[in-house]
């Protein structure tokens, strides 16, 4: 395999278009199937009623928000190590999608929290706090990239920040989790939920795949714009 054949933006440009088209179609189909399972097939939850159905959006969005940050850091690291132009473009193409999913996860979490916990926002939950900090990390990455005129320097500087961030994300999650146990007992807990019905799990996995395909499509379209923008 000639891995580096597609490392050049010119040769990658048409491939990105093909990938974007097919993953876009896959995302639409999977989202339709996932939403159908979520809204019509999955049973009503005994404790939470219909409000729980938001997890079909919420949980996949939260997964993707973290996964995209890792992928972004991977491209950033590759760009710093091999000095390839496309890696930096991929990292900056992924950032807005990651931030979007982080925001969706927080927003749907708040909407779910209102009927279930009785409040939109709980400062004590470790996952909530680390998602919020993750959103700030995405914003920091994009702000730093936007502040630097020279795109190559912007790629490298933002890439370094992404690497520093990815080392910190587990530390942040773990320390917030510890902080949570100090401040507040287990009055609200997601992990203690009863076992999920198989259809619920299926719906969630299908939606996760749909979001995954959507992320690929969005990143590919954005990387095409970036390639054109930089005139490569």
């Amino acid at each position: 395999m000639r891995w580096f054949w597609y490392a050049s933006p010119q040769t990658f440009f048409p491939l990105a278009g093909t990938i974007a088209r097919w993953s876009g179609i896959a995302a639409a189909v999977l989202a339709l199937v996932g939403l159908y399972i979520g809204f019509f097939v999955a049973p009503t939850d005994a404790q939470q009623g219909e409000a729980y159905r938001i997890i079909f959006i919420h949980v996949p969005a939260a997964w993707m928000s973290m996964f995209i940050y890792v992928v972004m850091a991977f491209w950033a690291g590759l760009g710093l190590a091999l000095n390839t132009r496309l890696s930096g473009m991929m990292a900056s193409a992924l950032a807005p999608t990651g931030a979007l999913f982080t925001f969706i996860a927080l927003w749907t979490g708040a909407l779910w929290g209102r009927p279930t916990w009785g409040t939109y926002w709980v400062w004590g939950d470790a996952r909530l706090m680390s998602e919020l900090i993750l959103l700030f990390l995405y914003f920091g990455f994009m702000a730093l990239h936007a502040a630097i005129e020279d795109p190559r320097r912007a790629d490298r500087a933002a890439g370094l920040l992404a690497l520093v961030g990815v080392v910190n994300v587990p530390i942040i999650y773990w320390s917030v989790k510890w902080w949570n146990t100090l401040h507040q007992g287990a009055s609200v807990s997601l992990t203690a939920a009863p076992k999920m019905a198989a259809t619920m799990l299926t719906g969630m996995l299908v939606m996760a795949l749909a979001f995954w395909m959507y992320s690929i499509a969005a990143a590919m379209l954005r990387v095409r714009c970036i390639i054109r923008e930089r005139g490569a």
């Binding site: 710093l80 900090i133 700030f136 990390l137 914003f139 920091g140 702000a143 730093l144 502040a147 630097i148 320097r153 490298r156 500087a157 370094l160 920040l161 690497l163 520093v164 961030g165 080392v167 910190n168 530390i171 942040i172 320390s175 917030v176 510890w178 902080w179 100090l182």
Partner: protein, 222 residues
């Protein structure tokens, strides 16, 4: 190598001494911010005693961050930084020396003045030791992580605000452990665990942050 680092620290300290007002401003900011909290929250002593560790730590965080833009700015402007990049000493060591100097000027005074603020907040006297120790262990981490941010935003428009956005989320674990140590001690459980974790964070940051700073400095001066 160590001689170069020592020279650099001494030089930075001398520069800071010649511009005493800069150091004093950051320290005054720390005092002013902590004095503003009771005005906003109310003078109820029990409440103030409960929030004191958090307030002092957040103020220390902001104060330490406020002086970060100066870390490389002057050296960047007059070309000293380029000489450091070309110099024989490894850039990581140079970055570590700069962070150490920043801490001596901006972190250490905070830790020393903190008992006075704790006195104002009516914190029990036996907690002063934990508070000072947590600041002594935690503020160097802030300087080390902050140096990465300062190097990344070097020479950018609106660098100061951007620096805050980049660095503050990364400060969260230090804040949690620092304020947590004092709160645990206040609850009678002893803050040893948190202090040990802060120490571990310091070791990890001291080992890795200077190299990230060095990489950022190379990117900034391309």
């Amino acid at each position: 190598m160590l001689a170069a680092a020592r020279t650099l620290v001494c030089r930075d300290l001398r520069v800071a001494l010649r511009r005493r007002s800069d150091v004093a401003t950051a320290l005054l900011f720390f005092v002013v911010v902590t004095s503003l909290f009771p005005l906003g929250i109310g003078a109820e002593p029990n409440q103030l005693r409960a929030i004191a560790p958090g307030v002092i730590w957040v103020a220390a965080l902001l104060s330490s961050m406020l002086s970060l833009p100066r870390l490389f700015e002057a050296d960047h402007a007059d070309g000293t930084l380029e000489q450091m990049l070309l110099g024989a000493a490894p850039l990581g060591v140079t970055a570590a020396a700069k962070a150490l100097a920043h801490w001596l000027v901006s972190g250490l005074p905070l830790a020393l003045i903190a008992p006075l603020l704790a006195l104002q907040y009516d914190l029990p006297a036996e907690l002063y030791g934990v508070l000072v120790l947590s600041l002594l262990l935690g503020t160097p981490v802030l300087s080390l992580i902050g140096a990465i941010g300062a190097a990344l935003t070097l020479g950018l428009r609106g660098g100061g605000v951007l620096l805050a956005l980049l660095v503050l989320p990364l400060y969260a674990p230090v804040l949690i452990m620092g304020a947590g140590a004092v709160e645990m001690a206040a609850a009678g459980l002893g803050g040893h665990g948190q202090l040990l974790i802060l120490g571990a964070m310091l070791i990890v940051a001291a080992a890795f942050a200077p190299w990230a700073t060095a990489a950022a400095l190379r990117i900034a001066s391309e």
